[in-house]
Amino acid sequence: MSVRRETLDLRKTDSDFVKRVAESGGEKILLCVQCGTCSGGCPAGRRTAYRTRQVIRRALTGLKDEVLSSQDIWLCSTCYTCLERCPRGINVTDVILILRNLAVQAGFMLKPHKDVSAYLLRTGHAVPIIDKYKALRKELKLPELPPTTHSYPEALDEVRRIANKTGFDKLIGFEG
């Protein structure tokens, strides 16, 4: 995130945003004291510009678009170290996941995620089976195909119906 060059007008921030995060299961972020334990021990933050504490701070300040449009929230590897150590008992990792959900709902989604999701709707799997694993399964005396859409292609239709009813297909631009 770049350095701000002008004064932040707090009147223009979205004070309902933090409420929404709270209602979605992140109510403890209100207890944050910005100590930095999360970012100080974050393995992803050590190598990238991801600063957990700043994401939380921005959310608390109501910088909704800035939080949701930023790529930062997608850099978390969900290792849960921050959640284990947070002295305020905040479910930090869950909050990041909540923010991702809100971002997606607001239409902020990276192209790779859209592609993977499209794969899911096309095949029923984010990572469909390949020949190597078919062979391995056979060797282990398992059916060649797992009991998923691979074995039951008709279930794929149900997956797509869910995506359609929830509007997920539109979000990712899936067109069948």
Binding site: V33, Q54, P87
Partner: protein
């Protein structure tokens, strides 16, 4: 009751605290029409001078002889109003206080209509009780002119000296072999940089030689019986193997001793012998044999020039009577091993600030030279981790330790002053330098070059032989940072000293949610416990610095001497007594009394007024109604229930009988914390639930209650908690009677209450209301039948 009762009802608005949640005018209007009520008035502050004047003029104008005050909890102002009654020439027991604040307006905010209905019911109950109140006279007990001070740290030392200098004999009890407490372990103290030993040692010596102080070290408190003015205390002097009268502290025993164990005083950084002196300035200056490690080889006893050693010492019990008690048992450090990312207990060079105090002490394990614990090497760079375990809702404790900002800043300066090339970095969340001279002290650390990094340390790992890699975020830069140090000092959270809960149980005083003792009022009665003549001070009330501990100790001593100086104490009139002519000498009451207060003499029961604590457990046992508990008579109790239930509050109606000491207090705390529960819960104050028999409970249901809740002291919570057992015993019999009468016995609920758990009580109320609501209404026929079975009540 010769005279006709003329009741005045006075409803306090409490400046909106009550009137915002309860329609006080509606309450007055309802009261105007009740039998016996001559006048009903509301006013903004009933406890104020104009409020009391108004009551006075009403009493005169209307010739009132009973007063009902509907206001805050009786714990707050019952005494104020009782005093006002006395000046009017009315017996103070002709007063009834109804709780409309803590247990009504504050607990049901936003539900004014329901709260008002509840208020009307409660006030009507109060009026009915008031009509049958009887005048009572108190009796007096001589107060023992002696004190017990528990805890020999700076707070206990201060309190003991203060009382002794006022001329009172004091027993100062300390469980360690020497007094001094944690302060004796400190080097310098903030913000003045005095040497702790230089200011503490003279006080310790003074304790040792003051003729009014009987110093009892290596001693623990076993039990406390009796009451305010005359506490009977049993103490155990633990075996120390050395006769304090004979020992000259020559130290020969220790030199010869071959057993070596970690030295607790130096935080295990070096060893001590099984025969040892806690520290060179110990008071009393007497050696102690540590029987946990002693092999009883006997050589010390042989060589002792004064023959002071007795390896067969078994310790002894001592009993003393005192008028009042001061508790100053201090704090302990939290165990930081569970914070695995700090590596405390794994990495040798990760220590606590108390270890560092010992490392900097001239009589510490290194003679005051700062060395790395792993190899004795120099320390060039060290880091401080503030708030280790404090302000931690996850694995630590929620509160601030109040001292770690300042002592870390102190240690940093001591280190830089002594070792000019040392570099000190403080990792902090907030610097709280609130005291006099504290901010200036912070500034002087900045000037000396202490580095301040705003970020809580996230992890510490070993990065080489004894070197530690510390990771955090510099939150002001917004970047993760890491640095290498020779030594990392953790500033641990402060927790109650081990045994605080057991001590509180023995003394029948209360703990707060944080495990520290609770004061009577956090602002206005900071050094009184919730029990009369038990005073408290220092870190047993929560973390604080030396100055604040000393101030509280002085306060506790002052309050203590005020109490004892009065010479006499009023004995409650709320005790049981026997009508001799009626008593048939069956002995039921003798067997049930948890305090051994009733005996049989010449075939009649006799109550010992000193021992009787007024629980009321004996009254329902008496088949011939010879027993009476004053100020809680059957006539009063049934009247109260009738009054409450005749005004129909919102259904389901829950009558909650709470013991006054614990459960009622917890219900007040619920209101104070503004926690909500349904207004269907109507609270009735009883001395203990043991006062209630089958007849009372059945009557409540017969008269319209849909559920009855009994809340009483958890075992060990308060002097009267022994009475809960009686209630628990009666429950099955009462439940049977309910089931037989066609009322589901699940409508009767008993809960053991513990003051710190008041939130739980609020939850239990809410759950009980919904359970009863789901069960639906009680068949009116069943109520009628039960009423017939009970027969007439007073």
């Amino acid at each position: 009751m010769g005279e006709e009762s003329r009741v005045g009802v006075f409803v306090c608005e409490c400046g909106g605290n009550i009137s915002n949640g309860v329609d006080v005018e509606a309450v007055c209007k309802a009261a105007q029409g009740w039998k016996g009520v001559v006048v009903a008035r509301n006013y903004s502050y009933m406890c104020s001078k104009p409020g009391l004047d108004m009551i006075q003029s009403m009493v005169k104008r209307h010739n009132l002889n009973r007063i009902v005050i509907a206001a805050c909890t009786p714990r707050m102002h019952q005494v104020t109003f009782a005093r006002a009654m006395k000046t009017l020439g009315l017996n103070p027991f002709l007063l009834e206080v109804v709780n409309l604040r803590e247990q009504c307006s504050w607990s049901h905010s936003g539900e004014k209509e329901a709260a008002t209905k509840k208020a009307v019911s409660l006030v009507r109950g109060g009026v009915e009780r008031a009509r049958s109140l009887e005048p009572l006279e108190a009796s007096w007990l001589d107060v023992e002119q002696r004190f017990l001070v528990v805890g020999g740290g700076i707070a206990g030392i201060t309190a003991a000296l203060e009382l002794a200098n006022q001329g009172y004999p004091v027993y100062l009890v300390e469980r360690d072999p020497s007094i001094g407490g944690h302060m004796a372990q400190f080097g310098k103290v903030f913000p003045t940089m005095d040497c702790a030993q230089c200011i503490l040692t003279p006080r310790m010596v003074e304790v040792g030689r003051n003729p009014n102080i009987k110093l009892m070290t290596s001693t623990e408190l076993v039990s406390v019986t009796g009451g305010p003015g005359k506490y009977h205390v049993k103490l155990f002097i633990k075996p120390r193997g050395v006769d304090p009268e004979k020992c000259t502290a020559c130290g020969v025993c220790s030199k010869l001793c071959e057993v070596e164990v970690p030295n607790e005083f130096n935080m295990g950084l070096d060893k001590r012998k099984a025969s040892y002196l806690m520290f060179p300035q110990s008071v009393p200056l007497v050696y102690t044999i540590d029987f946990n490690s002693c092999t009883k080889c006997g050589r010390c006893a042989e060589v002792c020039p004064r023959k002071a050693i007795d390896l067969e010492d078994k310790g002894k019990f001592v009993e003393v009577d005192v008028g009042a008690i001061v508790v100053a048992t201090g704090y302990e450090l939290i165990d930081l091993r569970k914070f695995e990312e700090y590596g405390y207990g794994v990495h040798k060079n990760v220590i606590t600030a108390l270890h560092l105090e010992r490392l900097l002490s001239p009589f510490g394990p290194t003679g005051g030279y700062l060395r790395r614990p792993n190899d004795g090497g120099d320390v060039k760079k060290l880091a401080y981790v503030l708030c280790a375990g404090s302000r931690d809702l996850n694995r630590g404790i929620p509160y601030c330790s109040r001292v770690c900002c300042m002592y870390s800043i102190k240690q940093a300066q001591v280190i830089i002053d002594a070792f000019l090339d040392a570099q000190v970095t403080l990792f902090y969340i907030d610097i709280r330098s609130f005291g006099r001279g504290f901010e200036e002290f912070y500034k002087s650390a900045q000037e000396k070059g202490v580095k301040f990094v705003r970020g809580r340390v996230s992890e510490i790992s070993e990065s080489g032989e004894g070197c530690l890699l510390v990771r955090a975020e510099d939150t002001l830069l917004g970047v993760p940072v890491e640095d290498e140090f020779d030594l990392v000092v953790l500033c641990p959270a402060l927790v109650p000293s081990p045994g605080t809960a057991e001590l509180a149980e023995k003394l029948s005083i209360s703990l707060g949610e944080d495990g520290f003792l609770m004061e009577k009022h956090p602002k206005l009665d900071p050094v009184n416990s919730l029990r009369e003549a038990v005073f408290v001070g220092g870190c047993v009330l929560g973390p604080k610095d030396i100055r604040d501990s000393v101030s509280e100790a002085l306060g506790a001593a002052a309050k203590g001497s005020t109490f004892v100086k009065a010479g006499k104490i009023e004995l409650s009139a709320e005790k049981a007594s026997v009508e001799k002519e009626t008593c048939n000498g069956c002995g039921n009451c003798v067997n049930i009394c948890p305090f051994g207060a009733i005996t049989l003499a010449d075939g009649k029961a006799v109550v010992d007024r000193l021992r009787c604590l007024g629980c009321g457990g004996c009254v329902p046992e008496c088949k011939v109604s010879a027993l009476v508990l004053h100020n809680s008579t059957d006539r009063q109790l049934f009247g109260l229930m009738r009054g409450i239930l005749v005004e129909k509050a919102d259904r389901p109606i829950i009558l909650a009988f709470l013991d006054y000491d614990i459960a009622y207090n917890a219900a007040d705390l619920i209101g104070l914390a503004r926690i909500k529960y349904p207004a269907n819960v109507l609270i009735v104050r009883v001395p203990t639930t043991a006062r209630l028999g089958k007849k009372h409970i059945l009557y409540a249901f017969a008269m319209g209650a849909d559920g009855v809740f009994l809340g009483d002291a958890h075992k060990g919570a308060g002097p009267l908690s022994g009475a809960s057992k009686i209630t628990e015993k009666r429950l099955s019999e009462i439940s049977e009677a309910l089931d037989e009468g066609g009322i589901d016995s699940l409508r009767l609920w008993f809960s053991a209450v513990y003051i710190p758990d008041f939130r739980k009580l609020a939850n239990t109320f809410s759950n009980f209301v919904s359970t009863i609501a789901e069960m639906g209404p009680i068949d009116e026929g069943a109520r009628k039948k039960i009423l017939e079975e009970i027969g007439p009540v007073p």
